[in-house]
Protein backbone atom coordinates (compact mmCIF):
# COMPACT_ATOMS: atom_id res chain seq x y z
CA UNK A 1 0.00 0.00 0.00
CA UNK A 2 1.48 3.33 -1.02
CA UNK A 3 2.23 6.04 1.50
CA UNK A 4 -0.43 8.78 1.65
CA UNK A 5 0.66 12.24 0.55
CA UNK A 6 -0.86 13.69 3.73
CA UNK A 7 -1.32 11.63 6.87
CA UNK A 8 -2.88 13.04 10.02
CA UNK A 9 -3.07 11.19 13.33
CA UNK A 10 -4.54 12.22 16.65
CA UNK A 11 -4.63 15.92 15.80
CA UNK A 12 -5.94 18.01 18.68
CA UNK A 13 -6.55 21.70 19.04
CA UNK A 14 -8.44 23.66 21.67
CA UNK A 15 -8.95 27.39 22.00
CA UNK A 16 -9.26 27.93 25.74
CA UNK A 17 -11.99 25.60 27.02
CA UNK A 18 -13.39 25.04 23.50
CA UNK A 19 -12.08 21.82 21.98
CA UNK A 20 -12.21 22.17 18.19
CA UNK A 21 -10.19 19.17 17.00
CA UNK A 22 -10.30 16.16 19.28
CA UNK A 23 -8.11 13.54 17.66
CA UNK A 24 -8.42 13.84 13.90
CA UNK A 25 -7.20 10.88 11.82
CA UNK A 26 -7.15 11.41 8.07
CA UNK A 27 -5.23 10.09 5.06
CA UNK A 28 -5.16 11.82 1.69
CA UNK A 29 -3.66 9.66 -1.03
CA UNK A 30 -1.30 11.09 -3.62
CA UNK A 31 -3.09 12.58 -6.60
CA UNK A 32 -6.55 12.37 -5.04
CA UNK A 33 -9.00 15.04 -3.93
CA UNK A 34 -10.41 14.91 -0.43
CA UNK A 35 -13.47 16.94 0.45
CA UNK A 36 -13.95 17.79 4.13
CA UNK A 37 -17.51 18.59 5.16
CA UNK A 38 -19.04 19.48 8.49
CA UNK A 39 -21.16 22.09 10.21
CA UNK A 40 -19.99 25.59 10.97
CA UNK A 41 -17.47 25.67 13.81
CA UNK A 42 -16.54 21.99 13.55
CA UNK A 43 -12.91 22.84 12.87
CA UNK A 44 -12.58 22.36 9.11
CA UNK A 45 -10.66 25.60 8.62
CA UNK A 46 -8.62 24.99 11.76
CA UNK A 47 -7.64 21.58 10.34
CA UNK A 48 -6.15 23.05 7.17
CA UNK A 49 -4.62 25.94 9.10
CA UNK A 50 -2.84 23.35 11.27
CA UNK A 51 -1.45 21.65 8.15
CA UNK A 52 -0.39 25.04 6.74
CA UNK A 53 1.33 25.99 10.00
CA UNK A 54 -0.96 28.99 10.58
CA UNK A 55 -2.29 27.40 13.77
CA UNK A 56 -0.14 25.30 16.11
CA UNK A 57 -1.94 22.10 17.18
CA UNK A 58 -1.85 20.95 20.79
CA UNK A 59 -1.03 17.34 19.90
CA UNK A 60 -0.89 14.93 16.99
CA UNK A 61 1.03 14.10 13.85
CA UNK A 62 0.86 15.80 10.46
CA UNK A 63 2.91 13.99 7.84
CA UNK A 64 3.58 15.24 4.33
CA UNK A 65 5.40 12.67 2.18
CA UNK A 66 5.98 10.64 5.34
CA UNK A 67 7.71 13.45 7.26
CA UNK A 68 6.14 14.93 10.38
CA UNK A 69 6.03 18.68 9.74
CA UNK A 70 5.40 19.37 13.41
CA UNK A 71 8.67 17.73 14.42
CA UNK A 72 10.75 18.69 11.40
CA UNK A 73 13.32 21.51 11.72
CA UNK A 74 11.84 24.91 10.85
CA UNK A 75 13.49 25.15 7.43
CA UNK A 76 12.42 21.63 6.45
CA UNK A 77 8.86 22.20 7.68
CA UNK A 78 8.74 25.37 5.58
CA UNK A 79 10.01 23.38 2.59
CA UNK A 80 7.35 20.71 3.04
CA UNK A 81 4.61 23.29 3.47
CA UNK A 82 6.01 25.19 0.49
CA UNK A 83 4.40 22.50 -1.69
CA UNK A 84 0.95 23.75 -0.68
CA UNK A 85 -1.10 26.21 -2.71
CA UNK A 86 -4.09 27.70 -0.92
CA UNK A 87 -7.33 29.20 -2.16
CA UNK A 88 -8.86 31.20 0.70
CA UNK A 89 -12.60 31.47 1.21
CA UNK A 90 -12.79 35.18 0.34
CA UNK A 91 -9.86 35.06 -2.07
CA UNK A 92 -7.58 37.04 0.30
CA UNK A 93 -6.12 38.96 -2.62
CA UNK A 94 -3.67 41.71 -1.67
CA UNK A 95 -5.73 44.81 -2.32
CA UNK A 96 -2.69 47.10 -2.45
CA UNK A 97 -1.40 45.23 -5.52
CA UNK A 98 -2.54 44.76 -9.09
CA UNK A 99 -3.86 41.40 -10.27
CA UNK A 100 -0.60 40.38 -11.98
CA UNK A 101 1.37 41.19 -8.82
CA UNK A 102 -1.04 39.04 -6.81
CA UNK A 103 -0.75 36.11 -9.20
CA UNK A 104 3.06 36.11 -9.28
CA UNK A 105 3.61 37.08 -5.64
CA UNK A 106 4.69 33.59 -4.55
CA UNK A 107 6.91 33.07 -7.58
CA UNK A 108 8.68 36.38 -6.94
CA UNK A 109 9.01 35.61 -3.23
CA UNK A 110 10.64 32.27 -4.04
CA UNK A 111 12.72 33.97 -6.77
CA UNK A 112 11.44 31.46 -9.33
CA UNK A 113 11.00 34.26 -11.88
CA UNK A 114 12.37 37.76 -12.32
CA UNK A 115 10.15 40.78 -11.87
CA UNK A 116 10.56 41.76 -15.53
CA UNK A 117 9.03 38.43 -16.62
CA UNK A 118 6.34 38.36 -13.97
CA UNK A 119 3.61 40.16 -15.91
CA UNK A 120 3.85 37.76 -18.87
CA UNK A 121 3.78 34.81 -16.50
CA UNK A 122 0.69 36.24 -14.77
CA UNK A 123 -1.11 36.60 -18.10
CA UNK A 124 -0.25 32.97 -18.89
CA UNK A 125 -1.64 31.73 -15.56
CA UNK A 126 -4.72 33.95 -15.78
CA UNK A 127 -5.51 32.34 -19.15
CA UNK A 128 -5.53 28.94 -17.41
CA UNK A 129 -8.41 30.14 -15.22
CA UNK A 130 -10.24 31.68 -18.14
CA UNK A 131 -9.32 35.32 -17.55
CA UNK A 132 -8.33 37.80 -20.21
CA UNK A 133 -4.90 39.48 -20.24
CA UNK A 134 -6.53 42.89 -19.61
CA UNK A 135 -7.49 41.72 -16.10
CA UNK A 136 -3.80 41.64 -15.16
CA UNK A 137 -3.61 45.41 -14.85
CA UNK A 138 -6.74 45.81 -12.70
CA UNK A 139 -6.80 46.01 -8.93
CA UNK A 140 -8.74 43.33 -6.98
CA UNK A 141 -11.38 45.90 -5.96
CA UNK A 142 -12.34 46.30 -9.62
CA UNK A 143 -13.22 42.60 -9.99
CA UNK A 144 -16.49 40.75 -9.37
CA UNK A 145 -16.63 38.02 -6.71
CA UNK A 146 -16.27 35.28 -9.32
CA UNK A 147 -13.30 36.97 -10.97
CA UNK A 148 -11.64 37.46 -7.59
CA UNK A 149 -12.01 33.73 -6.93
CA UNK A 150 -10.43 32.98 -10.32
CA UNK A 151 -7.52 35.32 -9.63
CA UNK A 152 -7.07 33.73 -6.21
CA UNK A 153 -7.08 30.32 -7.90
CA UNK A 154 -4.53 31.59 -10.41
CA UNK A 155 -2.32 32.75 -7.52
CA UNK A 156 -2.68 29.35 -5.83
CA UNK A 157 -1.69 27.37 -8.95
CA UNK A 158 1.01 29.76 -10.24
CA UNK A 159 3.83 27.85 -8.57
CA UNK A 160 2.33 24.51 -9.68
CA UNK A 161 1.97 23.15 -6.14
CA UNK A 162 1.96 19.44 -5.38
CA UNK A 163 -0.76 19.99 -2.77
CA UNK A 164 -3.72 22.32 -3.01
CA UNK A 165 -6.19 23.45 -0.35
CA UNK A 166 -9.54 25.05 -1.17
CA UNK A 167 -11.48 26.74 1.62
CA UNK A 168 -15.15 26.91 0.62
CA UNK A 169 -14.35 27.73 -3.01
CA UNK A 170 -17.95 28.30 -4.12
CA UNK A 171 -19.23 30.26 -1.11
CA UNK A 172 -20.85 33.53 -2.14
CA UNK A 173 -21.03 32.66 -5.83
CA UNK A 174 -24.10 32.03 -7.94
CA UNK A 175 -24.66 28.36 -9.01
CA UNK A 176 -23.28 28.89 -12.51
CA UNK A 177 -20.14 30.66 -11.33
CA UNK A 178 -19.82 28.00 -8.61
CA UNK A 179 -19.88 25.30 -11.28
CA UNK A 180 -17.27 27.20 -13.32
CA UNK A 181 -14.95 27.47 -10.31
CA UNK A 182 -15.45 23.76 -9.56
CA UNK A 183 -14.55 22.85 -13.14
CA UNK A 184 -11.46 25.06 -12.98
CA UNK A 185 -10.42 23.42 -9.71
CA UNK A 186 -10.85 19.91 -11.11
CA UNK A 187 -9.00 20.92 -14.27
CA UNK A 188 -6.08 22.53 -12.39
CA UNK A 189 -5.73 19.68 -9.91
CA UNK A 190 -5.78 17.05 -12.65
CA UNK A 191 -3.39 18.97 -14.92
CA UNK A 192 -0.87 19.54 -12.13
CA UNK A 193 -1.34 16.03 -10.72
CA UNK A 194 -1.84 17.62 -7.30
CA UNK A 195 -3.24 16.18 -4.11
CA UNK A 196 -6.01 18.38 -2.77
CA UNK A 197 -8.16 19.02 0.26
CA UNK A 198 -11.31 21.10 -0.16
CA UNK A 199 -13.60 22.37 2.56
CA UNK A 200 -17.18 22.95 1.52
CA UNK A 201 -20.77 23.11 2.67
CA UNK A 202 -21.95 22.75 -0.89
CA UNK A 203 -22.83 19.09 -1.54
CA UNK A 204 -23.04 19.53 -5.30
CA UNK A 205 -19.59 21.13 -5.31
CA UNK A 206 -18.28 18.39 -2.98
CA UNK A 207 -19.30 15.69 -5.44
CA UNK A 208 -17.89 17.59 -8.38
CA UNK A 209 -14.42 18.21 -6.98
CA UNK A 210 -13.89 15.34 -4.55
CA UNK A 211 -12.73 11.77 -5.07
CA UNK A 212 -13.15 11.07 -1.36
CA UNK A 213 -14.94 12.82 1.46
CA UNK A 214 -14.60 13.08 5.24
CA UNK A 215 -17.19 14.37 7.67
CA UNK A 216 -16.06 16.25 10.78
CA UNK A 217 -18.34 16.10 13.79
CA UNK A 218 -17.59 16.89 17.43
CA UNK A 219 -13.88 17.31 16.71
CA UNK A 220 -13.44 13.93 15.04
CA UNK A 221 -13.69 12.40 11.58
CA UNK A 222 -17.00 10.61 11.89
CA UNK A 223 -17.17 9.22 8.34
CA UNK A 224 -14.94 8.78 5.31
CA UNK A 225 -15.81 7.35 1.93
CA UNK A 226 -16.10 8.10 -1.75
CA UNK A 227 -17.51 11.59 -2.42
CA UNK A 228 -20.03 9.98 -4.77
CA UNK A 229 -21.59 8.20 -1.78
CA UNK A 230 -22.13 11.35 0.28
CA UNK A 231 -25.82 11.59 -0.49
CA UNK A 232 -26.48 7.88 -0.07
CA UNK A 233 -24.50 7.32 3.13
CA UNK A 234 -26.37 5.53 5.89
CA UNK A 235 -24.30 7.25 8.57
CA UNK A 236 -26.96 9.28 10.47
CA UNK A 237 -24.68 12.32 10.90
CA UNK A 238 -23.75 12.42 7.21
CA UNK A 239 -27.32 11.73 6.19
CA UNK A 240 -28.68 14.61 8.29
CA UNK A 241 -25.95 17.03 7.16
CA UNK A 242 -26.00 16.28 3.44
CA UNK A 243 -29.79 16.43 3.29
CA UNK A 244 -30.01 19.50 5.51
CA UNK A 245 -32.46 18.00 8.00
CA UNK A 246 -33.11 19.90 11.23
CA UNK A 247 -33.86 16.65 13.10
CA UNK A 248 -31.13 14.12 13.78
CA UNK A 249 -27.99 13.55 15.82
CA UNK A 250 -26.54 17.00 14.99
CA UNK A 251 -28.05 19.48 17.43
CA UNK A 252 -27.97 23.13 16.47
CA UNK A 253 -28.60 25.64 19.24
CA UNK A 254 -31.43 27.98 18.32
CA UNK A 255 -30.68 30.26 21.23
CA UNK A 256 -27.53 30.81 23.22
Amino acid sequence: MSQPKIRIRGLKKAFGPKVVLDGIDLDVDRGTSMVVIGGSGTGKSVLIKCILGLVTPDAGVIEIDGEDVLKAPRARARQLRGQIGMLFQNGALFDSMLVWENVTFGLLAERKIRRAAARDKAVEVLAQVGLDASVAMLSPAELSGGMQKRVALARAIASEPAIMFFDEPTTGLDPIMGAVIDELIVDCVKRLGSTSIAITHDMVSAQRIGDNAAMLYQGKVTWTGPASELLTSTNPVVDQFTHGRSQGPIKMALRK
Binding site: K49, L52, G53, L54, R78, R81, G82, I84, G85, M86, F88, Q89, N90, A92, L93, F94, D95, S96, F105, G106, A109, E110, R155
Partner: protein, 261 residues
Amino acid sequence: MKAVLNLVETLGAATLGAVTYIGELAQFALSGLTHIFRPPYYPRLIGRSLMEIGYFSLPVVALTALFTGMVLALQFYTGFSRFNASSAVASVVVLAVVRELGPVLAGLMVSGRAGAAMAAELGTMRVTDQIDALSTLSTEPMKYLVAPRLLAGIIALPLLVVLADILGVFGGFIVATNKLGFTPGTYLTSTFTNLRTEDVISGLIKAAVFGFIIALMGCFNGYRSKGGAEGVGTATTSAVVSASILILALDYILTQVLFVK
Protein backbone atom coordinates in the same frame (compact mmCIF):
# COMPACT_ATOMS: atom_id res chain seq x y z
CA MET B 1 -16.16 37.49 51.79
CA LYS B 2 -17.45 36.70 48.31
CA ALA B 3 -17.09 40.36 47.29
CA VAL B 4 -13.45 40.31 48.40
CA LEU B 5 -12.79 37.12 46.47
CA ASN B 6 -14.41 38.64 43.39
CA LEU B 7 -12.23 41.73 43.75
CA VAL B 8 -9.09 39.62 44.09
CA GLU B 9 -10.14 37.52 41.08
CA THR B 10 -10.76 40.63 38.99
CA LEU B 11 -7.46 42.18 40.02
CA GLY B 12 -5.65 38.91 39.33
CA ALA B 13 -7.21 38.57 35.89
CA ALA B 14 -6.35 42.19 35.06
CA THR B 15 -2.75 41.72 36.21
CA LEU B 16 -2.38 38.51 34.22
CA GLY B 17 -3.90 40.23 31.19
CA ALA B 18 -1.50 43.17 31.50
CA VAL B 19 1.54 40.93 31.93
CA THR B 20 0.49 38.81 28.95
CA TYR B 21 -0.03 41.94 26.83
CA ILE B 22 3.39 43.34 27.75
CA GLY B 23 5.04 39.98 27.08
CA GLU B 24 3.40 39.65 23.68
CA LEU B 25 4.31 43.23 22.81
CA ALA B 26 7.94 42.70 23.81
CA GLN B 27 8.09 39.47 21.79
CA PHE B 28 6.55 41.21 18.78
CA ALA B 29 8.98 44.15 19.04
CA LEU B 30 11.98 41.86 19.32
CA SER B 31 10.85 39.76 16.37
CA GLY B 32 10.22 42.89 14.27
CA LEU B 33 13.63 44.34 15.15
CA THR B 34 15.53 41.15 14.34
CA HIS B 35 13.73 40.89 10.99
CA ILE B 36 15.04 44.36 10.07
CA PHE B 37 18.58 42.94 10.00
CA ARG B 38 17.89 39.53 8.43
CA PRO B 39 17.50 39.05 4.66
CA PRO B 40 15.53 39.15 2.44
CA TYR B 41 15.16 42.93 2.53
CA TYR B 42 12.30 44.82 0.94
CA PRO B 43 13.66 48.25 -0.11
CA ARG B 44 10.49 49.08 -2.06
CA LEU B 45 8.35 48.51 1.02
CA ILE B 46 10.72 50.52 3.20
CA GLY B 47 10.49 53.36 0.66
CA ARG B 48 6.71 53.12 0.63
CA SER B 49 6.55 53.20 4.42
CA LEU B 50 8.92 56.20 4.50
CA MET B 51 6.55 58.01 2.17
CA GLU B 52 3.53 57.05 4.31
CA ILE B 53 5.07 57.97 7.65
CA GLY B 54 7.38 60.79 6.58
CA TYR B 55 6.38 62.54 3.40
CA PHE B 56 2.61 62.45 3.87
CA SER B 57 2.95 63.66 7.48
CA LEU B 58 4.93 66.73 6.43
CA PRO B 59 1.99 69.18 6.22
CA VAL B 60 0.44 68.28 9.57
CA VAL B 61 3.80 68.29 11.39
CA ALA B 62 4.87 71.53 9.72
CA LEU B 63 1.70 73.39 10.64
CA THR B 64 1.72 72.06 14.20
CA ALA B 65 5.34 73.13 14.71
CA LEU B 66 4.85 76.56 13.16
CA PHE B 67 1.83 77.48 15.28
CA THR B 68 3.37 75.99 18.43
CA GLY B 69 6.48 78.17 17.95
CA MET B 70 4.25 81.23 17.49
CA VAL B 71 2.21 80.49 20.61
CA LEU B 72 5.33 79.78 22.67
CA ALA B 73 6.84 83.15 21.76
CA LEU B 74 3.70 84.94 22.93
CA GLN B 75 3.32 82.94 26.13
CA PHE B 76 6.99 83.11 27.13
CA TYR B 77 7.01 86.85 26.46
CA THR B 78 3.98 87.26 28.75
CA GLY B 79 5.70 85.35 31.54
CA PHE B 80 9.24 86.64 31.15
CA SER B 81 8.24 90.31 30.83
CA ARG B 82 6.84 90.08 34.38
CA PHE B 83 10.39 89.37 35.58
CA ASN B 84 12.03 91.81 33.15
CA ALA B 85 13.50 88.81 31.31
CA SER B 86 11.77 89.14 27.95
CA SER B 87 15.13 88.96 26.17
CA ALA B 88 15.21 85.23 27.07
CA VAL B 89 12.22 84.46 24.84
CA ALA B 90 14.29 83.32 21.85
CA SER B 91 16.50 81.00 23.95
CA VAL B 92 13.59 79.38 25.71
CA VAL B 93 11.52 78.97 22.54
CA VAL B 94 14.35 77.16 20.75
CA LEU B 95 15.07 74.90 23.73
CA ALA B 96 11.40 74.09 24.24
CA VAL B 97 10.93 73.27 20.58
CA VAL B 98 14.15 71.35 19.96
CA ARG B 99 14.36 69.41 23.22
CA GLU B 100 10.69 68.82 23.89
CA LEU B 101 7.83 69.99 21.78
CA GLY B 102 9.28 69.18 18.35
CA PRO B 103 9.64 65.43 19.02
CA VAL B 104 6.53 65.11 21.19
CA LEU B 105 4.13 67.01 18.96
CA ALA B 106 5.51 65.43 15.79
CA GLY B 107 5.17 62.03 17.49
CA LEU B 108 1.56 62.65 18.51
CA MET B 109 0.63 63.97 15.06
CA VAL B 110 2.28 61.07 13.23
CA SER B 111 0.69 58.62 15.65
CA GLY B 112 -2.76 59.98 14.81
CA ARG B 113 -2.11 59.89 11.09
CA ALA B 114 0.36 57.15 10.17
CA GLY B 115 -0.02 54.93 13.26
CA ALA B 116 -3.77 54.74 12.75
CA ALA B 117 -3.33 54.02 9.04
CA MET B 118 -0.87 51.20 9.77
CA ALA B 119 -3.22 49.57 12.28
CA ALA B 120 -6.16 49.87 9.88
CA GLU B 121 -4.20 48.42 6.95
CA LEU B 122 -2.74 45.48 8.86
CA GLY B 123 -6.02 44.92 10.69
CA THR B 124 -7.91 44.69 7.41
CA MET B 125 -5.26 42.35 6.05
CA ARG B 126 -5.64 40.17 9.14
CA VAL B 127 -9.43 39.90 9.06
CA THR B 128 -9.49 39.22 5.31
CA ASP B 129 -6.87 36.44 5.58
CA GLN B 130 -4.29 38.42 3.60
CA ILE B 131 -1.67 37.93 6.34
CA ASP B 132 -2.31 34.17 6.30
CA ALA B 133 -2.07 34.28 2.50
CA LEU B 134 1.39 35.84 2.79
CA SER B 135 2.53 32.90 4.92
CA THR B 136 1.26 30.41 2.34
CA LEU B 137 3.19 32.27 -0.38
CA SER B 138 6.62 31.72 1.19
CA THR B 139 6.68 35.16 2.80
CA GLU B 140 7.23 35.86 6.48
CA PRO B 141 4.59 38.47 7.46
CA MET B 142 6.75 39.94 10.24
CA LYS B 143 9.53 40.57 7.76
CA TYR B 144 7.28 41.77 4.94
CA LEU B 145 4.77 43.87 6.86
CA VAL B 146 6.28 44.84 10.19
CA ALA B 147 10.06 45.25 9.77
CA PRO B 148 9.86 47.84 6.93
CA ARG B 149 7.40 49.93 8.93
CA LEU B 150 9.51 49.81 12.10
CA LEU B 151 12.61 50.86 10.16
CA ALA B 152 10.73 53.61 8.34
CA GLY B 153 9.38 54.93 11.66
CA ILE B 154 12.88 55.06 13.16
CA ILE B 155 14.21 56.95 10.10
CA ALA B 156 11.25 59.19 9.25
CA LEU B 157 10.46 60.75 12.59
CA PRO B 158 13.91 62.32 13.21
CA LEU B 159 13.71 63.84 9.72
CA LEU B 160 10.27 65.24 10.49
CA VAL B 161 11.54 66.59 13.79
CA VAL B 162 14.38 68.46 12.06
CA LEU B 163 11.70 70.19 9.98
CA ALA B 164 9.52 70.74 13.07
CA ASP B 165 12.47 72.31 14.90
CA ILE B 166 13.19 74.71 12.06
CA LEU B 167 9.54 75.70 11.62
CA GLY B 168 8.94 75.99 15.37
CA VAL B 169 11.84 78.42 15.72
CA PHE B 170 10.64 80.22 12.60
CA GLY B 171 7.15 80.59 14.11
CA GLY B 172 8.65 82.17 17.24
CA PHE B 173 10.81 84.39 15.06
CA ILE B 174 7.80 85.69 13.07
CA VAL B 175 5.83 86.61 16.19
CA ALA B 176 8.82 88.02 18.06
CA THR B 177 9.91 90.26 15.20
CA ASN B 178 6.43 91.37 14.13
CA LYS B 179 4.53 91.60 17.41
CA LEU B 180 7.00 91.73 20.27
CA GLY B 181 9.52 94.28 19.03
CA PHE B 182 12.56 91.99 18.61
CA THR B 183 14.95 92.75 15.74
CA PRO B 184 15.67 89.74 13.49
CA GLY B 185 19.40 89.87 14.27
CA THR B 186 18.92 89.94 18.06
CA TYR B 187 16.39 87.13 18.00
CA LEU B 188 18.48 84.83 15.82
CA THR B 189 21.70 85.55 17.73
CA SER B 190 19.95 84.76 20.99
CA THR B 191 18.48 81.60 19.47
CA PHE B 192 21.75 80.12 18.23
CA THR B 193 23.98 81.32 21.08
CA ASN B 194 22.11 79.21 23.59
CA LEU B 195 21.44 76.16 21.44
CA ARG B 196 23.89 73.27 21.96
CA THR B 197 24.53 70.20 19.87
CA GLU B 198 23.31 67.92 22.68
CA ASP B 199 19.95 69.73 22.67
CA VAL B 200 19.44 68.80 19.03
CA ILE B 201 20.74 65.26 19.50
CA SER B 202 18.53 64.58 22.52
CA GLY B 203 15.51 65.69 20.47
CA LEU B 204 16.48 63.43 17.58
CA ILE B 205 17.04 60.44 19.89
CA LYS B 206 13.56 61.00 21.29
CA ALA B 207 12.19 61.24 17.74
CA ALA B 208 13.76 57.91 16.70
CA VAL B 209 12.32 56.19 19.79
CA PHE B 210 8.89 57.74 19.20
CA GLY B 211 9.01 56.70 15.53
CA PHE B 212 9.68 53.13 16.60
CA ILE B 213 6.85 53.24 19.17
CA ILE B 214 4.33 54.61 16.64
CA ALA B 215 5.15 51.92 14.07
CA LEU B 216 5.27 49.20 16.75
CA MET B 217 1.87 50.03 18.23
CA GLY B 218 0.31 50.45 14.78
CA CYS B 219 1.64 47.10 13.59
CA PHE B 220 1.05 45.24 16.87
CA ASN B 221 -2.57 46.27 17.21
CA GLY B 222 -3.33 45.79 13.51
CA TYR B 223 -1.58 42.41 13.36
CA ARG B 224 -3.62 41.05 16.29
CA SER B 225 -6.98 42.46 15.29
CA LYS B 226 -9.93 40.12 14.90
CA GLY B 227 -13.65 40.14 14.40
CA GLY B 228 -14.15 42.07 11.19
CA ALA B 229 -14.74 45.81 10.82
CA GLU B 230 -15.33 46.36 14.53
CA GLY B 231 -12.03 44.66 15.35
CA VAL B 232 -10.17 46.84 12.87
CA GLY B 233 -11.75 49.96 14.41
CA THR B 234 -10.76 48.85 17.90
CA ALA B 235 -7.21 48.09 16.73
CA THR B 236 -6.91 51.53 15.15
CA THR B 237 -8.10 53.30 18.29
CA SER B 238 -5.83 51.20 20.50
CA ALA B 239 -2.85 51.92 18.26
CA VAL B 240 -3.27 55.69 18.54
CA VAL B 241 -4.12 55.77 22.24
CA SER B 242 -1.36 53.38 23.31
CA ALA B 243 1.26 55.09 21.13
CA SER B 244 0.27 58.53 22.46
CA ILE B 245 0.47 57.42 26.09
CA LEU B 246 3.79 55.65 25.51
CA ILE B 247 5.21 58.73 23.77
CA LEU B 248 4.34 60.94 26.74
CA ALA B 249 5.61 58.42 29.30
CA LEU B 250 8.83 57.72 27.40
CA ASP B 251 9.31 61.44 26.89
CA TYR B 252 9.71 61.87 30.63
CA ILE B 253 12.01 58.85 30.93
CA LEU B 254 14.20 59.98 28.02
CA THR B 255 14.28 63.56 29.31
CA GLN B 256 15.48 62.21 32.66
CA VAL B 257 18.11 60.01 30.99
CA LEU B 258 19.32 62.78 28.66
CA PHE B 259 18.99 65.50 31.30
CA VAL B 260 21.81 68.05 31.26
CA LYS B 261 22.16 70.71 33.97
